[in-house]
């Protein structure tokens, strides 16, 4: 079995907070429509979300954006607490969620420091017009279970099959578009890069290595939890940083 270790790199320097990734994710993964009502209930489902933080004092206030999706932690706190193995760690370094096993204790959601696990409080519903755009490769989750970013595992699998059929390495550049999760493909500024961290010439590895080695921008979110995530963030290069600090 090919021992990939899927990972993602998020270059915060490039993120404009345009939310394209969020929309792409919604349509790719059959995520129910988050209408105003759901937001008021604080129950929207966004496998990837853009968190916006204000930084600095007026006049030089800055909006900081950080896209947060499932970090697919190596030592995921969410996994061991599930009584029914609905979430576990697979051989590709993915933190997989088996909807069919899930009974909805929401324990994993509590234990995830990144808060990227979402509970289906209601039976998901789509307006008639959108019924036909549901992605056939992705299960429609029923109510009462947890769900979260899968790194678009359906795309990974399909690419793997294609690669087997036509030959070639699924992690190589030729398959990049079909391998990439929806959010990565949708990102206009190439903030997000996806790939196999075990393959040194995959785009993700390159970005990570270059930045961590040369510029030392690479870090992972909430390191003090020791979850050892598969998502690497690259610090924002901020020429105004000094002013912000002293401003």
């Amino acid at each position: 079995m090919a021992e990939e270790s899927w990972g993602m790199v998020v270059d915060l320097d490039k993120c404009t907070g345009c939310q394209a990734c969020v929309v792409a994710c919604q349509s790719e993964n059959n995520i129910p429509i988050n209408d105003e009502d759901l937001f008021n209930q604080r129950r929207p489902i966004q496998w990837i979300r853009i968190e916006r933080y204000w930084e600095g004092e007026f006049p030089n206030v800055k909006a900081r954006f950080i896209p947060i999706m499932c970090q697919h932690c190596g030592d995921a706190p969410c996994e061991p607490v599930c009584p029914v193995f609905a979430t576990y760690h697979n051989f590709e370094g993915l933190n997989v969620q088996v909807y069919n096993r899930c009974i909805g204790t929401r324990f994993c959601a509590n234990n995830c420091p990144y808060q990227i696990r979402f509970f289906n409080f209601w039976e998901p519903e789509w307006p008639e017009s959108l019924k036909n755009q549901l992605n056939p490769d992705v299960t429609v989750r029923s109510r009462g279970i947890m769900e979260k970013c899968t790194f678009c595992i359906q795309r990974i699998r399909r690419t793997g099959q294609d690669a087997d059929r036509n030959g070639g390495d699924p992690t190589s550049a030729e398959y990049e578009r079909s391998l990439n999760p929806a959010c990565v493909n949708a990102c206009p500024t190439e903030t997000l890069a996806f790939g196999d961290f075990n393959n040194p010439d995959s785009k993700a590895s390159k970005m990570r290595d270059k930045d961590s080695v040369e510029e030392g921008r690479a870090y992972s979110l909430l390191e003090e939890f020791g979850t050892n995530p598969s998502v690497v963030y690259l610090k924002k290069v901020d020429e105004l940083a000094e002013e912000v600090v002293h401003g």
Binding site: A76, E79, P80, C82, H89, N228
Partner: protein, 168 residues
């Protein structure tokens, strides 16, 4: 041979004790007579023989069984379908210890209860001679013996001063 039983009722402890002595004097074995009370008394209040029991073995056996079951359950289930979660070992000792502990205690308690019921010679299908006044504070001396020796016992109990005598 067929065992019959009869019961003498006494109002106070000392007469009951006398009755036991008398029966013993008449050559009745300790197996043949027993005191029935509606409340616990300090051991040997009536000079009766101290009951022997093996209750303390039960919980130990139960604990052993429970522990083994717990062990099999925890290791077996995890090995049967090994899934890595949170980088923890498939056979993590601490969680296994918890469930094995519960199993051990459950086994110990179940066996103890069975042991208690068994050691107190329950359930008893045939009550034999019994009187509801015993739970009203009377003290009963029940004699269970062969048909022919029963009359003698009855006469002894009367002599000592039984309130009432019933045959069962």
């Amino acid at each position: 041979m067929n065992q019959r039983s009869l019961l003498g009722l006494f109002t106070d402890e000392d007469t009951a004790a006398d009755a036991l002595d008398a029966l013993q004097a008449e050559g009745y074995g300790t197996k043949e007579y027993e005191v029935l009370t509606g409340t616990p008394y300090p051991e040997g209040t009536f000079g009766e023989a101290e009951p022997i029991h093996k209750l303390f073995r039960w919980p130990l056996i139960g604990a052993a069984c429970g522990f083994i079951i717990g062990l099999i359950l925890t290791t077996g289930t995890q090995i049967a379908y090994p899934l890595v979660t949170g980088g923890k070992p498939i056979l993590g000792i601490p969680p296994m210890a918890i469930i094995m502990y519960e199993g051990t205690m459950l086994g110990a308690i179940l066996f103890t209860v069975v042991g208690i019921i068994f050691e107190s010679r329950l359930p008893r299908l045939f009550m034999g001679a019994y009187d509801t006044r015993i739970t009203e504070g009377y003290i009963g001396v029940a004699v269970t013996t062969d048909e022919e020796r029963l009359g003698k016992a009855e006469e002894v109990l009367r002599r000592v001063g039984a309130e009432d005598i019933t045959r069962g």
